[in-house]
């Protein structure tokens, strides 16, 4: 039994790797064009932050009470490289600096069709309107059962 579960899990991760591979190759059309812009700012409403000591590219320690900065490693994301620096005072993060962030969205060059909403004047239920999915304020698991989306999912399940 245990062996079967393990086998299933390893199959699943292999699939994840497989899909992960195909997606990462489809997502790199903009390599070389992704310029970076730098955002920086202190957290709104945060307590005044004493001059931060420069990050060293790794942890400089926390929980001593005096503010310290931690510079994260550069994360290679689907959009380009991202690097942030956190200022920590005690156990609270008082400042987030974005040292590196991809600007633009090179992946989107192929996307050009504009989707323009059409207002619905009369009352329609989702079936009449031939709706595939419903967008609304965040539906929680509790609210889902009463939602139009639930009705659509049930109708063709």
């Amino acid at each position: 039994m245990k062996r079967i579960v393990l086998w299933a899990l390893s199959t699943l991760s292999a699939l994840v790797l497989l899909f992960g591979y195909s997606t990462s190759t489809s997502g790199v059309t903009g390599v070389g064009t992704a310029t970076t812009s730098v955002y920086s700012g202190s957290v709104a409403g945060a307590a005044s932050t004493p001059a931060a000591t420069p990050g060293t590219g790794s942890s400089t320690g926390t929980s001593t009470g005096s503010p310290s900065t931690v510079t994260g490693a550069v994360a290679q994301t689907e959009w380009g490289p991202v690097q942030v620096e956190l200022t920590v005072a005690g156990a609270a993060i008082t400042k987030v600096d974005v040292l590196q962030y991809p600007s633009g969205n090179s992946r989107d060059t192929e996307i050009n069709s504009r989707a323009l909403p059409i207002l619905i004047q009369e009352t329609l239920d989702a079936q009449d309107a031939q709706i595939d999915m419903v967008s609304g304020a965040t539906v929680t698991s509790n609210g889902y059962l009463q939602s139009l989306q639930s009705a659509i999912d049930q109708a063709s399940a």
Binding site: L12, V16, F19, G20, S22, T23, S24, S26, Y39, G41, V43, A44, A46, T62, S63, V70, T71, G72, A73, A75, T77, V82, Q83, V84, L86, V88, G90, A91, A92, I93, V96, Y101, D108, I111, A115, L116, P117, I118, L119, I120, L124, D125, A129, I131, D132, M133, V134, S135, G136, A137, T138, V139, T140, Y144, S147, L148, S150, I152, D153, A157
Partner: protein, 252 residues
């Protein structure tokens, strides 16, 4: 066209998928759906503020540093800060708790980002159209030029059993933020107050990360929602005001 649908509860919300075409309902399609859920559950374990053992919870308590977190944490915090700056502070991943202590809550960024990221798995399905929705925010794709658009219905914020608009989508993302369903869970980060004058904001953009951020940031600005959305690049959408009137917008 036959549409294959699945629903699972992850991150405290329903994740719905609709597939049509070659892999709708076959083993490859099911495996892709499993991979999507696998990714979203991973994101939940890393980012959930409801889990005390998530990386974000431990980071917020000062138990670990950014260097101890998976790289996605830096990516999301970077996004959150970019969103704060682009919304002039209306959007913030940090909020005050009851004691006035600033608390890290990146959930306003995480959902759209996570679903956009997970949808990349579905891009690997050949000749297959998909629409992947997390609690009403979705990424859609149509590959066959002869296939119909996905029809996305926009819920009436005053009556969730009705629709105020429909949006035909071929490729892109739709996100809606409103003050219904969960009550007042969105405030203007600058004032801590609930927005007034607007009932819901729907944003259509190329990717869900920014559609979701923009819908939330616009809603937080209340009466200023539409004016701010007009400054955003390459968006369309609908703003439903508190008095029930709706307006469509489109930006270059």
């Amino acid at each position: 066209m036959t549409v294959s649908r699945r629903v699972e509860q992850v991150m405290g919300m329903p994740i719905s998928i609709a597939l049509r075409g070659r892999h709708a309902g076959d083993a490859t399609g099911e495996a892709a759906w499993a991979a999507v859920l696998h990714q979203l559950r991973y994101v939940d374990r890393v980012f959930s503020t409801y889990r005390s053992d998530s990386y974000v919870s431990r980071l917020d308590r000062g138990e670990i540093t950014l260097a101890d977190c998976p790289p996605e944490v830096a990516e999301v915090l970077g996004l959150g800060e970019a969103a704060r700056l682009e919304s002039a502070g209306a959007f913030d991943v940090r909020r005050r708790d009851a004691d006035g202590r600033a608390q890290l809550d990146p959930s306003g960024v995480v959902k759209g980002w996570a679903v956009q990221r997970a949808s990349a798995v579905l891009d690997g399905l050949e000749d297959t159209d998909y629409c992947l929705s997390a609690g009403g925010d979705m990424v859609c794709r149509v590959v066959d030029p002869d296939a119909p658009d996905w029809q996305v219905g926009i819920e009436d914020p005053r009556d969730p059993t009705r629709l105020v608009a429909r949006i035909p989508v071929r490729r892109g993302a739709v996100a809606t933020s409103g003050l219904h369903h969960r009550g007042a869970h969105i405030v203007d980060a600058r004032t801590g107050r609930m927005p007034v004058g607007v009932a819901s904001v729907t944003v259509v953009a190329d990717d869900l990360t920014w559609a979701d951020i923009d819908a939330t940031a616009a809603l937080a600005q209340g009466h200023g929602a539409l004016a701010w959305l007009q400054t955003r690049p390459r968006r369309t959408g609908v703003v439903v005001r508190a008095d029930g009137t709706a307006e469509v917008f489109e930006t270059p």
